[in-house]
């Protein structure tokens, strides 16, 4: 019984904490993610030549960047290929 009460209290505390975070900080996190997304676009752009087999940057720099870029390709494709309109800018 006590354990149940404790877990209920813990659950309530966690919910309240998450609610507060949602109101105060979730927007900031989303913006940070958007900034990171924009930076990823730039990285993909500068390494795109190497991904396609056409070296644009000196290979040394490309080789150093590629390991960071490759894991992001699938999410980058989703972002790039998604149709957007002005209402996207509202949220």
């Amino acid at each position: 019984m006590e354990e149940n009460q404790e877990s209920l209290l813990k659950r309530l505390g966690r919910s309240a904490k998450e609610f507060l975070y949602g109101m105060a900080g979730h927007d900031m996190t989303r913006f940070a993610l958007k900034t990171r997304g924009s930076m990823e676009h730039l990285f993909i752009l500068i390494t795109m030549g190497d991904l396609l087999g056409i070296p644009i940057l000196p290979p040394y720099y490309s080789l150093r960047l590629l390991p960071y870029v490759v894991p992001q390709i699938s999410t980058w494709k989703r972002r790039m290929l998604r149709e957007r309109d002005l209402t996207d800018a509202l949220a």
Partner: protein
Amino acid sequence: MFTILVLILAAAGVAIGYGLYARTIDKNIVQPDPKKATPAKMYMDGVDFTPASKNVLFGYQFKSIAALGPITGPIIAVQWGWLPAIVWVILGTFFIGWVQDYGAMIMGVRRDGDTMGALSYKLISPRARNILMLFLYFYLLLIMGAFGNAVGKVLMTNPQVPFGMLTVVLMGVLAGQMTYRWKQDIILTTIITVVISFVGIWVSTQPFMSNIFSAIFGLPDSPVWFLGNTQAQVIGTLLVVIFCYLGSVLPIWSYAQPINYVSFWIVSLGVLGGILGMLIWRPGIGDFPAFTSFTTASGPLWPMLFVTIACGAISGWHSLVSTSGTARQLEKETDALPVGGGAMFLEMVFAVVAFLTATVAWGSFQGYQDAGGAGKALAVFAGGLANFLSRLGIPTSFGTAYGSVFLTIMALTIMQLCVRFMRVASAELLGDSVPVMKNVHVGTTVALLLTLLFVWVIPWLTIWAAFGAANQLMAGLALMLISLWLMSEGRKNAWALYPSIFMIVTTIAALLYLAYTSFLVKLPAATTAQASIANILIGLIALTLVVAAGFLIADGWRALRRPRVKEAAEKA
């Protein structure tokens, strides 16, 4: 006693509305499946489509939908008496408000996280999306005009307010630097910036500081400077415009976002303090009438009451947040009801608290009128909040300045977002034909000049009614989209279709009423150029919105009939 009765009524509205009506529709009609992959999981891109916990999203959704609307609407609406206002807030949320927020969210989830624009394109017609964009631009312009008017011409002209507001803005900028540049702990940043903000608000109430702003504003008898606006009003609105300009052109992380963060704490503490003071005091309604008359300064009860109280009962803005923002982050389909519906019911409670600050906090209709009445709704709220806070031992002068600062900051939060959006919209829509519109500063300046025209020329109650009508029409159209989507899935849609018809008919009636009074009643009687321009502007906007809505309704009607026509053709 009246306060407690109203709160019990609101609690009953939540219990029956959310616990029974909303849950029944969710369970029996929409039938969300917790195992079904949501767009947040299917299309996870680490940016827009990212799953988040329902508690986080509940807070996010509530913060995104609760701005000045739920505060201002009920305060203006009590001019018809307290009964119509409270009935519409509770029943509006019960039958319509949550339906739209929840419906738009679950529709977004089931339609791959599409935005309102994409949904209009697919469910109604290709031109529906373009009309919606035009509609949105006017809608945002009206938000700017309404909020700019309330803040720049009323709150900022109180000499005890501007310094507090400046302090909060500066603390926001400091919070941005501390968080992103100096990598300081967020709790330390929050404590420092919020405490200094409160000190700034206190300093702003001190005679030496308010005397400085009285001198700047030319108070107590501020002279008329421009288009019938006093020196204080012109300077107040220009200050608002400068804040919005900076919010539009500066990087979000350094200005708009940290200011929003600091202001969140200021606003939350104020609301909590107000509710606590109200519960300790528990005032009665006094001689405040339940019903005054059918026609007031804002017009006849139907349709004008239903557009005057927007966000507290139903608001088109919520459908934009629900689709573009929250639907793309839902972890499970079953989270849509607690997040979308739950946040709307919580906003109803917020609107009820605002209603109480306009009624019981003043104790009489005369008290409400003396505080500014419908014409100075935000001043009524700031004063009412100060009356509640005084029960906690907080001086009324500080409470009034505090209430005014937090309302100003709430308005600026939305206004900065609107200017940014208007800048992007003008660059997208006009950028190819007029390349200069792609320039950040030009786009922002154009948006703010239009705002100033609205703020300086159009009277407060008129612009609020126009804003409310645009907002509610947007809600009606969102409900129409939800009905079409339900029909396309072969589900019962009466719970969304009838509210949609009610909202569309009511808001078109309100817009036609505004056009009629502007062109045929007020314009012939106008004695100044300012009044003539104001009436022509409002009349034209009202008619434009009616025509745009007419196209959307015609296309929507065709879309509604599409399955029947198809069925008939198949039978033949």
